[in-house]
């Protein structure tokens, strides 16, 4: 601990989970995240944990449901088509209020799509994906170090709210190597006991892990309880970063890999004399709407950049609430925007600012 080591994003996330006290991984192979389960299959047995390659993503997500209900910190990872299959389990995990961490290294879709980097699962991650009134906390790292820190935090958040947390990255975050530091290490034996978990009803009333409420009055009560939890997340778990916002006339809103590319675009634009800043949502749910609403009172316009045909832009528009123009630039299908392309867009909009 404390020393920096060079690691691939996928492997760094896996190690971060172990350092967070996670000892159980259930998954199914899919590109571009295979390095994560492969790492877990080597490392978990060393720390007395369990790696299990399930028969399908559907089964894997239900194994996560079982392990989480049994009281353990548990991880699964996949990429877009696999996450679609995991949605059954994810909805049940959310419904039964179980903590779990899910990694989605997004690739292009819809359908089988491609294997190149993408951010086109934003809707799925933040608006549901599975059925029913539920939310995931969704965290979007833009570096390998941040992926490590957010993975460790994800387990804390999951336990705090008894709610699944999703880490969204893409093939770039997953496969690039960067120096990382693991800031702490948690022994699962030191974690507080979960008195709601199923581990045999020894000397106590039985515990039930369940999301079935046949009486609509009871289900509504449950839905409202969940909503209160999501409202609390909106209050306490918003995470974002801003860059050069003090004098910005135009603000780029971008997350993950795209936000990193936007940083280069901002420097290029400033060389041309256009004052551009950045708001980088780190939590996609809860969405940092307040900082965007505040910025709407100061800047002239917004440019949302995504590796999608336009998904997060809808949340930015809601936050801006018509006060300023919100432009969109996206590359999709696995194409990654270049800083120059973004600058071209900025210049186009820049003309309109004056």
């Amino acid at each position: 601990m404390g020393e920096k080591i060079l690691m691939k994003g996928n492997e760094a996330i896996a190690e971060a989970a172990i350092k967070a006290g996670c000892r159980y991984f259930f998954g199914y192979p899919i590109t571009p995240q295979n390095a994560l389960p492969e790492y877990m299959s080597r490392r978990l047995p060393e720390v007395g944990g369990v790696f299990l390659q399930a028969e399908s993503e559907v089964a894997a997500s239900n194994m996560v449901y079982g392990a989480a209900g049994a009281g353990a910190r548990v991880l699964t990872s996949s990429s877009s088509p696999g996450i679609s299959l995991k949605m059954e389990g994810i909805s049940y995990i959310a419904g039964a209020e179980l903590p779990a961490v899910i990694v989605n290294m997004m690739r292009g879709g819809p359908g089988l799509g491609g294997i190149q980097p993408s951010q086109s699962d934003y809707f799925q991650a933040t608006k549901g994906g599975g059925h029913g009134d539920y939310r995931l906390v969704v965290l979007a790292p833009s570096s390998v170090q941040e992926a490590v820190d957010l993975t460790m935090e994800a387990f804390e958040i999951a336990d705090r709210y008894r709610n699944p947390v999703m880490i969204v990255g893409d093939g770039i975050i997953g496969q690039m190597m960067e120096p990382v530091e693991f800031k702490k290490e948690i022994d699962p034996a030191d974690l507080p006991k979960k008195d709601w978990a199923t581990d045999g009803a020894k000397g106590r009333e039985k515990n039930v892990i369940n999301s079935l409420f046949l009486d609509p009055r009871e289900l509504e009560k449950h839905n409202l309880k969940l909503k209160a939890k999501y409202d609390k997340m909106k209050e306490k778990e918003v995470r974002y970063e801003t860059y050069k916002m003090d004098d910005a006339e135009l603000v780029i809103v971008a997350y993950g890999t795209t936000a990193r590319i936007a940083l280069s675009a901002i420097e290029l634009a400033r060389e041309k004399g256009i004052k551009v800043g950045l708001i980088r949502p780190i939590s996609l749910f809860p969405f940092p709407e307040k900082i965007i609403a505040e910025a709407a009172g100061k800047v002239n316009s917004f440019l949302v950049v995504e590796m999608s045909a336009g998904q997060m832009v809808e949340d930015v528009r809601l936050a801006v609430n018509g006060k300023k123009e919100v432009y969109f630039y996206g590359r999709t299908g696995g194409m990654v925007p270049s800083p120059e392309e973004i600058v071209e867009e900025i210049v186009k909009i820049g003309g309109a600012i004056k």
């Binding site: 159980y24 259930f26 369990v50 299990l52 399930a54 028969e55 399908s56 559907v58 089964a59 894997a60 239900n62 194994m63 996560v64 449901y65 079982g66 392990a67 989480a68 209900g69 049994a70 009281g71 353990a72 548990v74 059954e88 389990g89 049940y92 039964a96 199923t198 581990d199 045999g200 009803a201 020894k202 000397g203 039985k206 515990n207 039930v208 892990i209 369940n210 999301s211 079935l212």
Partner: protein, 245 residues
């Protein structure tokens, strides 16, 4: 005074919601009696399915899960891997286990997952109102095979116990019935063995229990158990298909 019969500790006092003549109640009781007799009530974690026995988590007085349709063996796998020293069982019907959950049951058995599965086969979808199941008999009329199951278009009754018994990971596979007291006693013996196999760490254990569904078969309860003996047993032969020493 010696108590010769009583209410099992492993059942709650909640009245069953099952239809008159349904044999789920008998099977629940057998499972609960076995858990009591083995002294494992406080060590046991059960997984309920989707189907008529969806509310089994309200009836068994042990730690319980409610799983999504067909996934009970995956859920049980997650639990057992976290608590290898506990006893984990699934209770599933034939739509749940033999249709939507075939992948999960086959792979749990093949991995030799140390869990016990109680598989209730009544040859029909009960809770949804009597649709054809993969276990429906040839010629049997259901709401989705109104002219009788035709093997040309709807395939054949699926024989889960035979299928699972050829997998190297399964340790105990038996098919029993609950249509009369003699068979009920045999069923209990098999269920007990299926739990003992898990306690001894031998591997995966499943007991398929042929069960009556008078409501959806459109029969009186007495007629239904007779129909089970006359029609289901010839299609689904009873016995132990596998027992690893």
């Amino acid at each position: 005074m010696k108590l010769v019969a009583g209410y099992p500790d492993s059942l709650t006092e909640k009245p069953f919601h099952y239809c008159p003549g349904c044999t789920h109640g008998i099977i629940h009781r057998l499972v609960a009696e076995v858990i009591d007799e083995l002294g494992i009530r406080e060590e046991t974690i059960g997984v309920a399915p989707v189907g008529c026995s969806v509310l089994a988590y309200e009836y068994f007085d042990v730690d319980m899960f409610e799983a999504s349709h067909g996934r009970a063996p995956a859920v049980a796998t997650g639990v057992k891997r976290v608590h290898p020293d506990k006893i984990v069982f699934t209770y599933q019907g034939d739509g749940d286990l033999a249709s939507i959950g075939t992948a999960e049951i086959i792979h749990a058995a093949n991995r030799g997952e140390k869990i016990t599965t109680i598989f209730v086969n009544n040859a029909i979808y009960g809770m949804t109102g009597g649709q054809m199941a993969p276990t429906t008999l040839v010629g049997q009329k259901t709401t989705t095979s109104p002219f009788g199951r035709d093997t040309n278009t709807a395939g054949h009754p699926i024989k889960i116990s035979e299928m699972l018994s050829v997998l190297d990971g399964s340790a105990y596979i038996a098919r029993v019935s609950v249509h009369d007291p003699k068979h009920i006693r045999q069923a209990k013996k098999a269920i007990k063995k299926a739990f003992q196999v898990q306690i001894e760490g031998k591997g995966f254990a499943l007991v398929e229990v042929l069960s009556a569904c008078p409501t959806n078969w459109g029969m009186a309860p007495v007629e239904a158990v007779k129909w089970l003996a006359d029609n289901m047993v010839p299609t689904y032969p009873l016995g132990e298909f596998k027992e690893v020493e």
